[in-house]
């Protein structure tokens, strides 16, 4: 028995529907990845090209020209480890934010839980993250950087990374129903935010008084944690992790809002 009316369904029931459709999200994600690289000669190698370019360019700028001090860790490893988390974060927002608009025609003609769309879009960056990690390990080998036991925490960090990106992505999605300005705002915002986050530098570059402000940014904490796990740098302070918890609230509120507004969003498409 299935009742259709305009009363909102309870959060738990919506979650259950999405849970049951989870295999579909995986099928969607697999399909999207296959399509993205299906008409290229180099295939997945295209993931490596932009990252390698980034690492080389920033290494030349910061390490050779500006002679930035990264203590005993080689600069390319600092820049690359920063980019690992940041790129995944950015990919999620880029993919999830405009997802409903991109798939509008599809959603209007096919029966599926609408949440599946932003969900599977958020997973697409995983491939690039995986390949980047592989590349990173090769770079570590080249620089004779030892592998540490703390590397085992990596899956947890990736999950936090995923949730963090999704918490912002889903809000961009929620707010971009009638007007799509929010999508553009988010993409421009990311270009600014990459410099407010220690991606190409270490937090120690700034005067110490600014450090707490830096850690209000959840990506600072996460990138710090990546560097701790991969390169053995200092672990982010406790208050930074407390600040990170706020984003859990943002995430749950974002998902709830999506469930409440999903049909309204469809009407705008």
């Amino acid at each position: 028995m299935h009742i259709i009316n305009n009363k909102p369904k309870p959060f738990s029931q919506e979650l259950k529907t999405v849970w049951r459709a989870l295999p579909i999200a995986m099928v969607f994600a697999k399909r999207a990845i296959r399509i993205k690289y299906s008409h290229t000669a180099l295939g997945l190698l295209w993931v490596i090209v932009p990252i390698a370019a980034y690492v080389v360019i920033y290494s030349v700028f910061f390490s050779v020209l500006l002679e930035i001090d990264t203590r005993e860790t080689p600069y390319p490893l600092i820049a690359f480890s920063g980019l690992l988390g940041w790129n995944y974060f950015k990919d999620i927002i880029h993919n999830v934010g405009p997802s409903l608009h991109q798939e509008g025609e599809y959603l209007k003609k096919n029966v599926l839980p609408k949440f599946i769309i932003p969900l599977y879009k958020s997973l697409l960056g995983l491939v690039e993250l995986g390949i980047s990690l592989g590349l990173f390990f090769i770079l570590m080998l080249i620089y004779r950087e030892p592998l540490r036991l703390s590397i085992l925490i990596l899956p947890v960090l990736i999950i936090i990374n995923q949730l963090l990106g999704f918490s912002i992505g889903i809000w961009v999605c929620n707010l971009s129903g009638r007007r799509r300005d929010v999508v553009h705002l988010a993409i421009s915002g990311l270009n600014v935010a990459i410099w407010l986050t220690p991606v190409f530098y270490l937090p120690g570059l700034l005067p110490e008084v600014y450090e707490p402000f830096l850690y209000l940014n959840p990506m600072t904490t996460l990138i710090g944690a990546y560097r701790w796990a991969l390169l053995g740098l200092s672990f982010p302070p406790a208050y930074a992790w407390a600040a990170l918890l706020i984003w859990g609230v943002v995430l749950v509120a974002g998902i709830r809002t999506f469930f409440r507004r999903q049909y309204e969003l469809i009407d705008y498409l």
């Binding site: 299935h2 009742i3 305009n6 209007k108 003609k109 096919n110 029966v111 049909y263 469809i266 009407d267």
Partner: protein, 377 residues
């Protein structure tokens, strides 16, 4: 089973014109719709563009949320709402079947089990490993229809898609739909083709402006539809070389039972008298299928250009069962049609008293006296 209760859907439609601020207009795509469709039945939706047929299907499929009212469905619904929707052009037919099957709720194991059957029904074995962007619309339909009917969906929704298959596949669909109905699947299909709906559906709902205008047995509803929506005003000859004016004067019943005749009368003005012309009048049923016609060569010496003449066509009334008929007018020059005015007039035959004729009337349009002899031993 589908039970729809006072369903309504309102859209806010933005209107943008240059130099003016954007305004929003509220439009009710569906209003106060109520009906019940029992398990194992098929309902057809017909109506002019913008009548709300697609919106209704999308609400039942769970794509749109109604603004008011509710619908109760007895099971999961599956839908084919557009040719090729749900398929990705870059993936092969096989990959798309798997994808669509999973989307419609099949598990991996169920899908593996159903795959040979889906492929066999679609008759697309040879093209299965071709990306579907090279498919024709008929092939899309085969793929979508085959996949959907092999899922567990208890309620099937089709929007205007069955029309694209070729006649062999349509016949196959028809057979399959009959057996699906016996399995207790419930169906709703929207179409602009009355003949298709008459073939597939038990009941038909005529919709206009988002509201139900008529709901009843297929034949009756389609008669209602052709009477109220398919009739334009009497078509007039345009840029005709032969015909100046044509007026349908109506049909009358002449004579007495049991030899009643129907007389259809036209007033015709011809432009020319030099060509050897033949007048033909034909009767079509409410689905506009040709039933029979009468032909009469004109005696051209007696024709005066631009002067009215009366043309009367008569035939025995008892040959027509109850229902709605169309009168069509043609001019022939030798074997060629040189002028055709379809649906110039309408003819309605009221129900007969005879119960046998009543059964026939819901069944087909033409009556010929025949006997069935049953020998009981």
């Amino acid at each position: 089973m589908i039970q729809v209760d006072n369903l309504g859907k309102k859209f806010g439609i933005r209107q943008q014109s240059k130099g003016q601020p954007t305004t929003e207009k509220e439009v009710w795509a569906i209003r106060q719709l109520s009906f019940t469709l029992p398990k194992g039945k098929a309902l057809g939706l017909i109506g002019p563009n913008g009548a709300g047929k697609s919106t209704l299907l999308k609400i039942l499929a769970g794509i749109y949320l109604p603004t008011c009212g509710q619908a109760i469905l007895s099971g999961q619904s599956g839908a084919v709402l557009d040719i090729g929707s749900g398929f990705h052009p870059d993936l092969t037919g096989r990959e798309n079947i798997k994808f669509a099957g999973r989307l419609a709720g099949l598990t991996k194991e169920q899908l593996e089990a159903a795959l040979p059957e889906i492929i066999a029904f679609s008759e697309l074995e040879e093209h299965l490993d071709t990306p579907v962007k090279y498919y024709s619309s008929g092939m899309f339909l085969r793929l979508a229809f085959s996949t959907l009917i092999h899922t567990e969906c208890e309620i099937l929704l089709f929007d205007e898609v069955l029309a694209v298959g070729d006649s062999a596949f349509q016949e196959k669909c028809f057979q399959k739909i009959q057996s699906l109905k016996q399995d207790g699947r419930t169906m709703i299909m929207a179409s602009h083709e009355p003949a298709k709906l008459a073939q597939f559906c038990d009941e038909v709902m005529v919709m206009a402006n988002g509201a139900c205008q008529f709901l009843g047995p297929a034949q009756k509803a389609l008669s209602f539809y052709s009477k109220h929506f398919a009739l334009s005003s009497t078509p007039q000859p345009r840029d005709s070389r032969y015909l100046e004016q044509l007026t349908y004067e109506g049909a009358t019943v002449i004579g007495e039972l049991p030899n009643e005749e129907i007389a259809v009368t036209f007033t015709v003005k011809l432009k020319v008298k030099s060509h050897p012309l033949t007048v033909a009048i034909a009767l079509t049923d409410s689905l506009n299928q040709l039933l029979f016609s009468g032909h009469q060569p004109l005696v051209m010496e007696n024709v005066n250009a631009n002067e009215s003449m009366e043309v009367q066509w008569s035939f025995p009334k008892s040959h027509l069962n109850e229902g709605l008929f169309w009168v069509n007018f043609y001019l022939f020059e030798e074997q060629n049609i040189v002028e055709q005015l379809p649906k110039v007039g309408q003819l309605e035959i009221p129900p007969y008293q005879d119960p046998k004729r009543n059964i026939e009337g819901g069944f087909h349009a033409i009556h010929i006296d025949s006997q069935i002899q049953v020998s009981y031993e």
